[in-house]
């Protein structure tokens, strides 16, 4: 990931450098904007570049999110599903889950999946590993994710962070959104069954994941444990360097788009 990011920034810088060099050769010609150009010309160019940047980044974000959503749905459709046992279905209905899916495989899985109609997925293995109360806690937690359309939200945030890589603040906001989602879902479960079953389910399933080596996506365990223990959660604000790099990244992107627009204007006469 670091390599991809470094490659993107490198290409970005190279493109800007090449563009600025080309621009140097046309500074004497019109309509290239040279030092003699007025503030109004620069403003107009800045607005045009901003519009173009917003439109292109917006389109790329929609396409990337749609692709992520498609891949997600493709994976969901391949799951080996079967009819859930009656007691699990009753429990799910009792907590308010409208769409429950039962994975017919001996893996430990409890998740929420589905883009337009998010459902709660529970695997067979989970029924033997968790007590009734722990299972209820897991169901409530996942139901909260489904209610918030979190698979879609996460795909959208991931798309935004990837396409808007030059604004590091987006990556930070994506992680914060995941954290907020997990903490909200835990709070809902704690309110319904108490902290102990939630902690116990986290302990059991988290130990299982550590053994099997599956990398959890969220990495929010630390905050979740603090919330379970009743600690005041730290208020997360972006660091100044993150804000600065985001501003610089946006300026960098605008400069590139502006430069390309100027050359394109010259080419079109």
């Amino acid at each position: 990931m670091m390599l991809i990011r470094a490659g993107l920034w490198g290409s970005f810088a190279l493109l800007l450098f090449s563009c600025e060099r080309s621009l140097q050769s046309c500074l004497d010609a019109q309509p290239c904007l040279g030092p003699a150009a007025g503030a109004r010309d620069w403003l107009a160019l800045g607005i045009a570049a901003g519009r173009f940047l917003a439109a292109s980044v917006g389109s790329a974000w929609v396409l990337r999110t749609a692709w992520l959503a498609f891949r997600h749905m493709h994976a969901v459709n391949r799951l080996p599903l079967t009819t859930p046992p009656d007691h699990l279905r009753s429990m799910a209905e009792a907590v308010g889950i409208r769409r429950l899916r039962f994975i017919d495989e001996d893996v430990t899985a409890a998740c929420c999946a589905g883009i337009l109609r998010p459902s709660v997925y529970i695997s067979r293995d989970l029924l033997t590993k968790l007590s009734q109360l722990e299972l209820r806690a897991v169901l409530i937690h996942e139901m909260e994710h489904a209610r918030g359309f979190e698979p879609l939200r996460r795909a959208a945030w991931r798309g935004a962070a990837e396409i808007g890589f030059f604004v590091p603040l987006l990556g930070w906001a994506r992680v914060r959104d995941v954290e907020r989602g997990e903490l909200r879902a835990d709070r809902r479960a704690i309110k319904a069954v108490g902290a102990q079953p939630v902690a116990s389910a986290l302990w059991t399933l988290g130990s299982e994941l550590a053994l099997t080596g599956i990398a959890g996506f969220s990495g929010t365990m630390d905050l979740r444990v603090s919330q379970l223990a009743g600690d005041a959660l730290p208020r997360r604000l972006p660091q100044p360097d993150l804000l600065l790099s985001s501003v610089l990244g946006t300026a960098f992107a605008l400069a590139l788009v502006g430069c390309i627009a100027e050359i394109a204007g010259l080419a079109l006469g």
Binding site: P151, S200, W203, T212, I214, M221
Partner: protein, 130 residues
């Protein structure tokens, strides 16, 4: 009393591989052995059959094969205990699950507790007790 991890591990191997690994894990041979030692315990099998199976087990990482100095033969030693073999198997299954279902793990309930600091891990352990 049956050795549960051993039985479970043997059941995950092919018939001949299972028979061989049972003998290895039960300590019926010396820790380091050659094909001939194994064949003595399985006299009905051809030497080449035993050798091929041992090599296959070595390729799978269940045995370790090292060349005997000055000879063309190899010495074999168990690379994993039955419980470690089982853990590796379940890890492979889990990895396959993630590969197959990819982004489905996007909104999963649990996260790995080995990512917690020792202090947080201890707190969670205490909180999880009834």
């Amino acid at each position: 009393m049956p050795n549960k991890p051993l039985e479970a591990a043997v059941s995950q191997l092919g018939p001949l591989e299972g028979r061989i690994m049972r003998l290895v894990w039960e300590g019926k041979l010396q820790q380091r052995f050659v094909v001939r030692d194994m064949q003595k315990l399985m006299p009905r099998l051809a030497y080449t059959t035993v050798m091929t199976t041992l090599n296959r087990l070595a390729e799978k990482g269940i045995l370790t094969a090292t060349a005997v100095p000055g000879r063309r033969a190899h010495q074999y030693v168990a690379a994993v205990a039955p419980s470690a073999f089982l853990a590796r198997g379940s890890r492979r299954e889990a990895d396959a699950m993630v590969r197959r279902y990819g982004d489905l793990a996007l909104v999963a309930f649990a996260d790995r507790i080995d990512r917690l600091s020792p202090a947080q891990k201890e707190r969670l352990r205490k909180l999880s007790r009834p």
